[in-house]
């Protein structure tokens, strides 16, 4: 693949949106420079290129920034048109975009809530995740993705990237929180898709080792639990700084909020 332009990419190693971009770049065979960002302390470069959201990932193509992972993925696909990750058909594209929206709007936050809550709140969050997975399972079984190996068809597409980069948190949270999220009997097609996805060469090269992710998640969970002793009635532990906390805890809570956000599917 001829690449005469320069690509630089700002990300964080445990951030699923970063993985989305990295995977897309790999699938396109693109060469890029990577800069690791601390989610709690954004670099001047990140603040310059993503002044509104101040978050990873940010892609710089010949110095011009593109931010927001879905925007970046579509930009990559439309700029380097070999090995497309989106179908040409407008209806197919609309379906994929819809489920990407669902992933970020419903499924991701529900999974994040499993991690950041306890007791009754967590039980409700787990139920939400199951409800959302049921919708995907149904689509795989009888709906738009019936009979496909991947959501994109025979090859990994945009929706595979979006759902796949983050679904590893399901396994991590299952272990850290000791809850069952993806039962292969209840979600056989989703489960099979995920295993197939994770076996792909480029995916293996993108997703960090599971033990590192486990360690990372356990660390954040510990921080959240140690903060929650003051707010015992809260079912959401370590809520981001918008919640009410004592002034001593504000900085710590904000840090946890930022870390939690980076875990959202």
């Amino acid at each position: 693949m001829d690449q005469s332009s320069s690509l630089k990419f700002l990300g964080s190693w445990a951030d699923s949106h970063t993985h989305r971009v990295r995977l897309a770049l790999k699938l396109k065979g693109l060469v890029f420079e990577y800069q690791e960002e601390d989610s709690v302390n954004p670099s001047p470069a990140l603040l310059l290129h993503n002044p509104i959201y101040k978050k990873v990932p940010a892609l710089l193509h010949d110095g011009r920034p593109v931010v927001e992972s879905l925007v970046i993925l579509q930009y990559i696909d439309e700029t380097w048109t070999d090995d497309p990750i989106m179908h040409a058909d407008p209806f197919e594209r609309a379906i994929v975009r819809f489920w990407c929206h669902f992933a970020d709007d419903k499924l991701g936050p529900a999974v994040g809530l499993v991690f950041s809550s306890a007791g009754e709140g967590q039980k409700a969050a787990v139920d939400q995740v199951h409800e959302n997975l049921k919708l995907l399972e149904r689509e795989l079984r009888d709906g738009a993705f019936k009979g496909r190996r991947f959501f994109g068809g025979d090859n990994i597409g945009l929706l595979d990237i979006v759902l796949g980069c983050g679904s590893y948190w399901l396994a991590v949270f299952e272990e850290v929180m000791e809850v069952k999220l993806v039962d292969p009997d209840t979600f056989p097609l989703f489960h099979a898709w995920l295993r197939d996805f994770e076996e792909q060469k480029e995916v293996k090269e993108t997703i960090p080792p599971i033990d590192k992710l486990l360690e990372h998640a356990r660390g954040i969970r510990q921080m959240m639990l140690s903060l929650s002793t003051d707010t015992t009635t809260a079912t959401t532990i370590g809520a981001p700084a918008t919640g009410s906390t004592t002034s001593n805890n504000d900085a710590a809570v904000e840090e946890i909020g930022l870390l939690q956000e980076s875990l959202v599917l």
């Binding site: 593109v66 579509q74 819809f98």
Partner: protein
């Protein structure tokens, strides 16, 4: 090429800014469609069947397939009727990325701050939301300058993706202005956007589907008790 009557249907409701978006897109493409008005407070069988995940309007039905989410519908219309009217998204991938980013920002950050003004229970909360909304509009003013390149719309000479995303909220912005006495699109704060807003609302693709401010006010009073 105009579609046959019945081939294209849009499930929606006249006060909804989200419904306005696909209506403008369809108008820009010269597509004839049947508008299926939902009754407020009740969801039709067709809606529940066509959007089982969110059960929300708008939903576009084309060849009996359903497309949901307002800006996804806009992009679908742009692709399905690529040979009609103007392109709604620009051709250049970087400009497309900018349009998509700003449309995301508008729904993700700007709309909640505008809506926050209406929901605010104290003068303080109202002022805070207003500050956020104005700050957002300042960013959008800069975006307008960059994307319009001196022309009339975010899309240049023609109504584009961001025009539709932001323009859809203008009706409700006017209602909030009237209810609170605050000027959202202020010629002094954001002169380019103030002019753009007038231009957008006067456009033939927008005019006929934009509800009158008085009707929206009545609707707001009736249903939201404000």
């Amino acid at each position: 090429m105009a579609a046959e009557a019945g081939e294209v249907r849009l499930i929606g409701a006249w006060p909804s800014p989200f419904v306005l978006r696909p209506r403008v897109a369809l108008n820009l493409k010269g597509v004839e469609y049947e508008f299926l008005q939902e009754k407020f407070g009740e969801k039709s069988e067709l809606l529940l069947r066509s959007n089982p995940v969110y059960k929300k309007i708008p939903v576009l039905l084309h060849h009996d397939k359903s497309v949901c989410e307002s800006m996804i519908i806009v992009e679908y219309v742009d692709g399905a009727w690529a040979n009609s009217g103007h392109a709604i998204l620009p051709a250049d991938p970087y400009e497309r990325a900018l349009h998509r980013f700003w449309a995301f920002y508008i729904d993700d950050k700007w709309f909640p701050s505008m809506f926050g003004i209406a929901k605010a229970e104290t003068e303080e909360a109202k002022a805070e939301s207003a500050e956020q909304a104005w700050a957002g509009l300042k960013l959008l003013e800069e975006a307008f300058e960059k994307l319009s390149k001196g022309k009339a719309f975010f899309g240049g000479d023609i109504i584009g993706y961001v025009d539709i995303a932001l323009g859809a909220y203008l009706g409700w912005a006017k209602v909030i202005e009237q209810m609170t006495g605050l000027k959202l699109l202020d010629e002094e704060k954001t002169p380019l956007l103030a002019i753009w807003a007038e231009r957008f609302c006067a456009h033939e693709a927008v005019k006929e589907v934009t509800p009158e401010t008085e009707k929206l006010m009545e609707f707001a009073k009736m249903h939201f008790g404000k």
